[in-house]
């Protein structure tokens, strides 16, 4: 096998900064001005999913429901032409599902009641708070762990990379008006986990090389480290994306957005572990001196 080719990743870091800054600004603007399309889990309300045997006409169903006295129902296709999702404000009182069902069944068509969800407004609000709080706790704990295991500059780099990934993923959801529900929140946290995984592996190599290579500038050390880990980064991203594609195409409508969020996150996470974390470290003048700890031979020999 030939000697490893070292790519000059950090040579174009100025462009990366501009690119990331642009993405962040667009995402933040979209999040600030139009926010997220909150799913039922967070917004509260009632939602009913029904399945027809024939493709259903949603406009017709909407009119039917309005004529029957339901207050501004939202009627959309859910996944397939034959599946319909009806969303309403308010609690499903006794027999609401049956009443809707009866309205939908007038023409003697076979309708199957697949799902009824009701989430009270207080639950939605709590989930929003808990979700935000959980995200911040996760970031804080991770920052602490990386600071202890590595060094503060690495830690700041890692957390900024994570924040970058989360904001951009949320930004895409806001821009594309995709629905943000509990599974998407779980996906975002999984993105945090994934992107962190990547960043840690890269940081680990940077630390190792700082200790090993004595006569090199920080930029050279980082370039070499990134090049060494490049194939690993790409291969892992590919395997993860492969399974996400499987989920996206055949996983069903309920985890559609989950798969989308993770695919965006894995893409952005791969980019950020190369550019964001390392660029932040360089901006803080990371150096050999930062890592001269007396931890020589920290690899435990007996471990497999």
């Amino acid at each position: 096998m030939s000697q490893l080719k070292v790519y000059n990743f950090m040579g174009i870091r100025r462009y990366a900064v501009v690119f990331s800054a642009l993405m962040l600004i667009v995402s933040s603007l979209s999040l600030y001005t139009q926010g997220l399309v909150l799913g039922l889990d967070f917004s509260g309300g009632t939602q009913i999913e029904v399945g027809y045997e024939q493709p259903a006409n949603v406009a017709e169903l909407r009119t039917k429901l309005e004529t029957a006295g339901f207050d501004s129902p939202v009627v959309i296709h859910f996944g397939a032409e034959t599946d319909v999702l009806i969303r309403m404000q308010g609690e499903p009182d006794q027999g609401l599902a049956e009443r809707v069902y009866n309205v939908l069944q007038v023409d003697g068509e076979k309708v199957e009641l697949r799902r009824v969800d009701f989430v009270g407004p207080q639950i939605g609000e709590e989930l929003r708070d808990d979700g935000g709080l959980g995200m911040l706790t996760a970031l804080a704990l991770v920052m602490l762990y990386v600071a202890i295991r590595f060094q503060l500059k690495f830690s700041i780099g890692a957390v900024l990379a994570l924040g970058h990934d989360v904001i951009i993923t949320l930004g895409v959801f806001s821009l594309a008006r995709l629905e943000f529900d509990l599974t998407v929140l779980a996906a975002i946290l999984a993105v945090v986990g994934y992107s962190l995984n990547d960043t840690i592996v890269v940081s680990d190599r940077i630390r190792e090389n700082f200790r090993k290579i004595r006569k090199a500038t920080p930029v050279e050390v980082i370039n070499e480290s990134l090049s060494q880990t490049l194939w690993r980064t790409i291969n892992t991203s590919v395997t993860t994306l492969l399974v996400l594609l499987a989920l996206f195409f055949i996983g069903g409508e309920l985890i559609h957005n989950f798969a989308i969020a993770l695919m965006i996150g894995v893409g952005i996470g791969t980019y950020s572990s190369i550019y964001v974390a390392a660029t932040v470290m360089l901006a803080m003048d990371v150096d050999r001196e930062d890592l001269l700890e007396p931890v020589e031979g920290e690899l435990v020999d007996d471990l497999p």
């Binding site: 697949r114 994934y194 985890i255 497999p304």
Partner: protein
């Protein structure tokens, strides 16, 4: 010798592999559709005789069954055809009558030797099995207010008995406030309350005119009341759930003031909601003879019953009802037999002794929530939940004699009405009002669809990753692939053993674990390639490749585990399922991709002279 495992390590790998296969195995046996039969009360014996009667009915209807078993408390009959399950239930219910609970069930078919080892199949979450999920919020302030109201009456009469004069004494918010003229009266009242009412903490507000004494419930007492309220609500909810005949219902407390109810496999969701959602209480009140009291509507939707004016004071309430059963009187007309507890029986006797000929009403009190739309100061539409109370008469009957612990209500329209009334009476006892704050109903077909989609996506995702690893890492790809497959087996084994629930997001977690689990092997193999490229010997490259990659893998996985843990703490239901699978997946993948692949590599390559590594 380089790259040789000591014997114990090889044995460990072997042990873990067999552990994985044994505990994952129960999931390979598909459950049988079954019917479960149990009694309405624990006293009923369900033995072989009952079983034979049931089997006779099934024979007559031509439904195939096998392996019927009865253990005295319940009976289980397995069916050949799942499509006949509903019909079998109807037939058995018709045969056995209303005193038996007949529930649809899925009976595990785990072989005996496996279940002896503690093996069991994974539990399926509601989104996979279908069913109903309710989250109910208990209004604890109402429970405290009820208690303070009754304390207030006690304190007032105690003060009167002791001839301590007060101007007013009333309930304001969460405290009782008394007003006095003389400081000496305040001192005596304080002493009396300190001595007799330990739960109330008196506090004298200095320098006010009139002199005020504030009584608050101590924190311990308030905590006890809240705990009791939740416990009693849990009990009556469990009773109601039992009425439904669900094979494995879950009723448990969640957080400080919430109760979660999960009914897997319920087909008739409307019925479930009707009974669970009935957050209700009962009061027996005499009809008032004059204009005093309050007028209530009759609950019957067809408006058959008359409206009536009932007294403000209740004779007894739902807490005192211990049992209510629908049956028929000697003339074959429907009636409801009611049993009260001792205190309720005494109060009922006292109240009815002098009132024979008057009418006694049963008031059904329902706590409901209405969602109101309003516009806040920012011009945004906000939706607030406004709880409200609905009180209706469900029965109004003339008192024929002095009533005691046991009495009956007659003059009902039909069997349907009598069983409904009996159900409402039994279900009535709630210590504090509850409101439904979340409800999810998943149809059985959607659950089955979800399982199918999940299995498909796991299979497809897995296949693609296996092919990719083979293409990229050739011979070592085989090691990684065996590790990956083993990881899936171990993940399933641990989830089954821990009794973790599999949900749709949980399946997504498994799929994601499959994608990410190869990361450790990718790291190791990349390292080995690097070491080879820098001129290390083959055995040396393998050894240092594994060692060097270990630190990265450990750091990366611990941080991901932190994230999964937080996900578990903040998430609910399905999301927790995702967090659980993700965490278990991280741990098992570390074992399979580091220890297990190393074992294979050592076994095949270790200690041999090899010209070229196929990596």
């Amino acid at each position: 010798m380089p790259n040789k495992f000591p014997l114990w390590k090889n044995l460990l790998v072997l042990l873990v592999i067999s552990f994985g296969f044994i505990y994952a195995a129960p999931n390979l046996y598909p459950p049988d559709p079954a019917i479960q039969l149990s009694g309405q009360s624990g006293a009923m014996v369900i033995d072989e005789v009952v079983l034979q009667k049931v089997e006779g009915a099934l024979d007559e209807a031509g439904i195939e069954y096998f392996a019927g078993e009865a253990d005295g408390e319940s009976a289980l009959i397995r069916l050949r055809d799942i499509d006949l399950q509903l019909r079998a239930k109807e037939i058995i219910q018709a045969e056995m009558g209303g005193n038996y609970i007949v529930a649809l069930n899925l009976a595990p078919t785990t072989p005996e030797w496996l279940s002896d080892l503690g093996g069991q199949p994974m539990k399926l979450g509601l989104d996979l099995s279908g069913g109903v999920h309710f989250l109910l919020e208990v209004d604890l302030n109402a429970a405290l207010a009820t208690r303070l109201e009754s304390d207030l009456q006690d304190v007032k009469s105690a003060l009167r008995e002791e001839r301590i004069r007060y101007r007013t004494f009333e309930l304001k918010g969460q405290q009782l406030i008394g007003q006095f003229r003389e400081a000496e009266e305040v001192d005596r009242a304080t002493a009396l309350i300190r001595a007799n009412y330990r739960d109330l903490q008196p506090q004298f507000i200095q320098g006010q005119n009139p002199l005020s004494l504030v009584l608050k419930l101590s924190d311990i007492a308030a905590g006890d009341i809240e705990d009791n309220a939740i416990k009693q609500n849990l009990t009556s909810l469990r009773n109601r759930v039992n009425e439904l005949g669900v094979s494995e219902p879950l009723v448990s407390r969640q957080g400080k003031n919430r109760i979660v109810v999960e009914l897997p496999g319920v087909q008739d969701t409307a019925e479930a909601k009707r009974i669970i959602g009935k957050t209700a209480n009962l009061e027996f009140r005499l009809e008032s003879l004059d204009k005093a009291g309050e007028k209530f509507k009759f609950r019957n939707p067809s408006g058959q019953g008359p409206d009536a004016r009932l007294q403000n004071k209740a004779v007894i309430s739902g807490e005192n009802v211990t049992d209510a059963r629908a049956s028929f009187d000697e003339n074959g007309r429907p009636q409801v037999n009611i049993t009260l507890d001792a205190k309720g029986g005494w109060q009922m006797g006292y109240a009815t002794r002098d009132n024979i000929g008057r009418r006694l009403g049963v008031l059904f009190i329902e706590y409901k929530t209405r969602l109101d739309k309003s516009v806040d100061e920012n011009g945004e539409v906000v939706i607030t939940a406004v709880p409200f109370v609905e009180k209706n008469i469900i029965s109004l009957a003339t008192i024929q004699a002095q009533l005691g612990k046991q009495f009956r209500i007659t003059g009902l329209d039909g069997q349907r009405e009598s069983s409904e009334l009996a159900l409402l009476l039994r279900a009535g006892a709630l210590a504090a009002p509850m409101y439904i704050v979340e409800e999810r109903t998943i149809g059985p077909s959607l659950g089955a669809d979800n399982i199918e989609l999940g299995v498909k996506s796991v299979t497809l995702g897995m296949m693609m990753v296996l092919l990719f690893m083979l293409a990229v890492y050739k011979g070592f790809g085989v090691f990684a692939n065996i590790a990956l497959a083993m990881n899936l087996v171990l993940l399933v084994a641990f989830m089954s053993l821990l009794g973790a629930t599999l949900t749709l997001p949980g399946i997504a977690g498994i799929v994601l674990t499959v994608g990410m689990a190869v990361d450790a092997n990718v790291l190791i193999f990349s390292r080995i390639r690097e070491e080879l490229a820098s001129g290390s010997s083959i055995q040396g490259a393998i050894s240092s490749g594994y060692d060097r990659a270990f630190v990265s893998i450990l750091d990366a996985n611990i941080t991901t585990l932190i994230v999964a843990l937080i996900l578990f703490l903040i998430g609910s239901g399905p999301v927790q399922g995702f967090a659980v699978t993700l965490s278990i997946g991280i741990l098992t993948s570390m074992f399979t991709s580091i220890v297990m692949t190393r074992g294979f590599v050592n076994l095949i390559i270790g200690g041999r002279k090899i010209e070229k590594l196929w990596i």
